[in-house]
Amino acid sequence: MDAMTENIKRKEERKSHADVVFSTNNLVKAFGGQVILNDISFNIRKGEVVLLRGENGSGKTTLVNILTGNLEPDRGEIHININGDKEVFIWPRPWWKEINPLDHFTPERLAWEGIGRVWQDIRLFPTMTALENVVVASPEQSGENPVLALFSKKAKKENRQNTKKSSEWLSMLGLGDRLDSSCDKISLGQMKRVAIARAIQAGAKILFLDEPLSGLDKEGISEVMGYLETLAKKNSITLVIVEHVFNIPTVLKLANTVWTLSNGKLMINKSDETIDDKTKEVNPFHDLLRQIAGENGKTHTEKLPNGAKLATVIPEGLGDSQSVLEVKVLVVKRGIRTVIDRLSINLKKGHLYILEAPNGWGKSSLLDVIAGIHPLESGKIILKGKELNTIPTHERIKIGLAYLRSQQSVFSSLSVKEQRKLSNANIPLFDNSLNGKSKGSYLSGGEKQKLLIEMLPEADVCLLDEPMIGLDKGSIEKLVELIKQMIEKGKTLLITVPEYKEV
């Protein structure tokens, strides 16, 4: 009986081992002496859905960069066995491999093995249409050889087939009517879907997705999740999803394994073992409204055109106050498309405003126009009684405006310390969690966001475009505290958030 059980066990082990398509052994990566990843070992099986989570700066993006060939580890092994041909990479690499230009650990080499990536900042090819973005990703095209491109009929036929297949992928994703739309003119949700379709068209069997749901409204989230589910269940594509704290509960519905990165170590759990306080439903905007309004404060919501809502919080003890920022009959265009059509809002001193709108509504465009980064078509913007229409951005900041953009653009070649000095941000707001010596380009998404929040100048009116993007739970609490303090000081805040059901 024992022998039989052992036999079954061995068979199961063998079967389970046969399903392993990607594994690592003792991966180590350090930057400037600071160990970011320490002895990372795991196996990924075919069709597995992994949720990768961790605090800001825990090394999630570094790990994904290594696993997709964008960065080499200092030590360790990577084993890939997707197409039946086993490929092994071992570090440190011997010198003769280092000088061989055909044997490098590169993103294209891993892509040929069947590893794809969807970037946090999407990185579509902006001058191409949605369809071209997907078609160009097709692997092993004869037409990529210039001689065959000129003379071979097979290359032309193959190109037609790839175009057909790509339009089918896009139609499946609900983008059948946007095939010829330029990729810089479609909404964020559509961009994310095009990026996923592009990676699949490139032949990805293991797909790493860096925050695929961030910045999406509820419709966008359900669309992308539905598609990911189809990929995992019907197409047996292995998914590794890095996701932000707000969206973890959504991803957990699909994930069967959870990786948690903490202090350079990776903990691996089954998804049903990880329902703890970190993964419970988080609705930061609801909390924010409640906290700032206080027991006797007032909140009211005003409906704006095209499904947007502007929630106003009037803290307790503060009645009707004077206007600080007025937007009158504003019209904004992006190219030939009218993004904002005759919008009027009036922001008052000491009030908090939360603009909740679906993606593509024009939230970022509105803030860009108020800050003078994007021109307005018609209308008026008045800050503290002064018309801003012809005033450049730096003058608007002097008048009393501060703006946190959602692009997380820090100065890449300056250190955290230098950037703080540049903006007179003397007090670290996030408990010294940022290393002062780190250069901007080495910061993770969350760390960049923290630095940008610290660098915000003192101003009467603060515009915050999706300020919680990339922040972990602790940092969000800090940010809420900061917003509370600003409101107490009589500042006016306009915060944009993606469409969120409960607000």
């Binding site: 294209e108 001058t127 191409m128 071209e132 078609v135 692997p139 990529e144 790839n162």
Partner: protein, 289 residues
């Protein structure tokens, strides 16, 4: 009439040059400043083979294309590693080096004295020694180059090149071998400019290094930038405008001492104005960053 034909032949030659440069700058995002040097290599190889060895036009042109194609590795291999400003500096170094060789290797190129007596092209026993015939030849060659580039840029190769220009890392993540694309783009562009060089040498019958200086590279780049990058119309419009400017100035009766300077001043002003008001060029599509 002869004057017009002469200008049209020049226009054809410059259309080949700007189309090939547009392949690198507009479609590949590779800011090449050594194009005049490769134009020079094409011209000198064709001229030397025809004058010194007595080769015919077609074998000399084919040989010059092969040699220039091989020498394109001088810029394409550094382009694997270097991008933007660093690549510009590198291509500048290649331009200066090749120009110095043309100027100082007197044993081969006769240095500043140049090569004289380059025979007119002969194709299938038919000597092309009149202006109308030369115009037909240059137009046919320009059209063939245009068709080749048109087909290539609409093929998956052209799309992959554009993807590389837009976001090289994302393209590599999709399995595109961007090093190979750079190598091929330089090979095609340098081969085409060598063809233009050979055509120029046989048309004017005399070449010296002053036709292949850095100023010439800048003029070629100006044509592409003023006309517009990333599509077919742009380089043609650019070549037309920048060839027309000095010719128009001839009729304004500006003293010779100032004419050249005024021409440079106009080029400079044009580029600054275009960069400010219309970065994608007059007829361009891609906004060069």
């Amino acid at each position: 009439m002869n004057y017009i034909l002469h200008l049209l032949i020049y226009l054809d030659i410059y259309i080949i040059i700007t189309m090939s440069l547009n392949l690198l700058v507009g479609y590949g995002g590779l800011f090449q400043l050594a194009h005049a040097a490769y134009y020079g290599i094409g011209a000198y190889t064709t001229a030397l083979l025809m004058v010194a060895l007595g080769w015919g036009f077609i074998p000399a042109i084919i040989c010059s294309i092969i040699i220039t194609g091989c020498l394109s590795l001088l810029v394409s291999i550094p382009a694997w590693r270097f991008r933007s400003d660093y690549f510009v500096m590198l291509s500048l170094a290649v331009q200066v080096t090749i120009y110095s060789l043309l100027y100082n290797w007197t044993g081969l190129t006769k240095g500043p004295f140049g090569i004289t007596g380059i025979p007119k092209p002969t194709i299938l026993g038919y000597k092309i020694d009149t202006l109308p015939n030369m115009f037909i030849l240059s137009t046919v060659i320009a059209i063939i180059c245009g068709v080749i580039l048109y087909v290539l840029l609409r093929s998956p190769w052209g799309k992959a090149l554009k993807a590389m220009r837009d976001d090289e890392l994302a393209a590599r993540g999709l399995g595109k071998n961007t090093r190979l694309f750079k190598l091929q783009a330089f090979l095609i562009a340098c081969s085409m400019v060598a063809l233009a060089g050979g055509l120029y040498a046989t048309y004017v019958s005399y070449i010296d290094p002053t036709s292949f200086t850095l100023d010439e590279s800048i003029l070629m780049l100006s044509m592409v930038i003023v006309g517009g990058t990333g599509n077919f119309r742009g380089p043609i419009v650019g070549a037309l405008i920048l060839i027309a400017i000095p010719e128009i100035l001839r009729f304004v009766h500006i003293p010779d001492a100032f004419a050249a300077n005024i021409r440079l001043l106009i080029y400079g002003l044009l580029i600054v104005t275009m960069a400010h008001f219309r970065p994608q060029g007059l007829a361009g599509k891609y906004r060069f960053k």
